[in-house]
Subunit: 377 residues, 2 copies
Amino acid sequence: MATLGHVTPSSKFFDTPLPLRSGAQLRDYTLVYETYGELAADKRNAVLVCHALNASHHVAGTYEGQPKSEGWWDNLVGPGKPLDTDRFFVIGVNNPGSCFGSTGPTHVNPATGKPYGADFPVVTVEDWVQAQARLLDALGIEQLAAVLGGSLGGMQALSWTLQFPDRLRHCVAIATAPNLSAQNIAFNEVARRAIVTDPDFHGGHYAAHGVLPKRGLRVARMIGHITYLSDDVMEQKFGRELRAAELGYSTQEIEFQIESYLRYQGDKFSEYFDANTYLLITRALDYFDPAREHGGDLARALARATAKFLVVSFTTDWRFSPARSREIVKALLDNRRDVSYAEIEAPHGHDAFLLDDPRYHGVLRAYFDRIAKEVGR
Amino acid sequence: MATLGHVTPSSKFFDTPLPLRSGAQLRDYTLVYETYGELAADKRNAVLVCHALNASHHVAGTYEGQPKSEGWWDNLVGPGKPLDTDRFFVIGVNNPGSCFGSTGPTHVNPATGKPYGADFPVVTVEDWVQAQARLLDALGIEQLAAVLGGSLGGMQALSWTLQFPDRLRHCVAIATAPNLSAQNIAFNEVARRAIVTDPDFHGGHYAAHGVLPKRGLRVARMIGHITYLSDDVMEQKFGRELRAAELGYSTQEIEFQIESYLRYQGDKFSEYFDANTYLLITRALDYFDPAREHGGDLARALARATAKFLVVSFTTDWRFSPARSREIVKALLDNRRDVSYAEIEAPHGHDAFLLDDPRYHGVLRAYFDRIAKEVGR
């Protein structure tokens, strides 16, 4: 299969303040984004890809001179791939509050001349969608063929259908939920407490102290990783395998391979991820709840949506289980919307949405093929 | 129902060193224990209750002047209760390494004259059973009518049947597993990392620095709590309920009631639990794996057991799921052992073993009634 080859990020500065759900605003901001494929003359073939917690605008392709820099959804997006860049113009955009390029806590606050740190305003899924819509305005794209996202990205795709029902034809929401459960919030909260109580956090102004709350970030990432993998796949991959031939009888040294794996993931993450961004993004997850304004009635909340939907879940995903996807499907059917639903039998848990299970990719390929035909590609 | 009333702990000092699985030994040690009911003249009515992570010898009854000091299994153990102290002589013993009375990391190391701290030797489920057996020797009890335990306590009950097959008639193993899964170990490891990387941990010698690693303990306990409750019961108890009438849009302040609950649990725990004990007990959980010496064959491991078994699991327990209990049952049946199995439909997750679900208590009552008749009570 042909690869997308080298890609280059672009950026766009917005000097109009972005009003936020919290009542605050972003005075000005830059969005970093990438595009793949060609925008058709009628501009009907654009697909927006929304990212989740640990991802960015860099959806596919590699950066020149960095052969291992594949985008996070490179298995899905490219020439001849399920989301085929020979047919679609694909846009990846980094959300405000992130630490991967768009304006976020590590950037300078124009009001103070110092990094935002903990003063970066709380951003929501709805705010991100507003920012994304402005980028599309700037690119001259009135209507998207589709908005696609997994996990937190799927929440953004859902929010698009409610905030800008006329601006997308299709919503592809994968491994997501209409809101977080108490258990989901609980895991986020423990991760946040690990970060906030790290003495190097300094109330979120660690930059001013020349330190980073890496301990907290490590623990946060370890917790996250447990929830991304299914119990089964963890058992298959690691089980009770020991690192050494014999038990060492130690409470602090590594005994089991699963410990080694988790520590490695935590260490790696703490080297590049920003702690304030972690807090912001987990909060955006917590806050997302379109039914809230409708007395908890998801069907009423989704009544505004006019897009066609593809909803995909994975059997072993215990973070956002198939039952949560079925809530979305049911609420859409209650509104007599056009919705396709695929529950993929996959062993990998929540992480499955990033992998290239053939049945999963087959469903996406067929769905995007249908969209391509609709928009004359 | 009559209550047990006031109880008083006893303690016994052992000056014979306790050899440990690790190859180390406890030079001398004290075990704190409680007993309820009367030991029959023929000494056949003794039941040993083994405790789990956050519990002790104080199984039932209250302490004088402390009306809220009920033992952790007071709903189960007492006159007329399922484990009836009018018929049985019930023994609760605190395990070495604990922070509730028996010799542990907060006690003075006779070799140095200073608190053990991180130098307390690694203890295993097998070691605890050896220590418990010595207490029974001291009490003049040759054979127990039953050993009973839930969770980590259930592992001790299982270990009794393998280490001292002739010293118990019945093993009652509740909400337990034949070993930890990779996911179980993963949760323990994250909790340990939170503690060990707390700057106040000081390699486990925090006492010498006059501090306590409370931040780490809080996070550890919050993680634990998530795994004790079922997703469903968390949803019913807390759902997405807010603490205030409106969202506050903050990454660090409490927004949801579940956050408030978890923080409260973490704070409370960090006030009384010892960090080194937390490491030791989670490691004992990790290490327990009777099948390991038999090439992973649990049936071969359990071939030594001659006791009769009652195994109980709870449908919503995702920490030690019914499937793990069924592994035990199957291995026992492969050995043609006398085993009863109850899978209780209960919404509360792992915590269910501490609650008084009527079907659950009904099963225990009937089983202990059978034992009482066997031993002539």
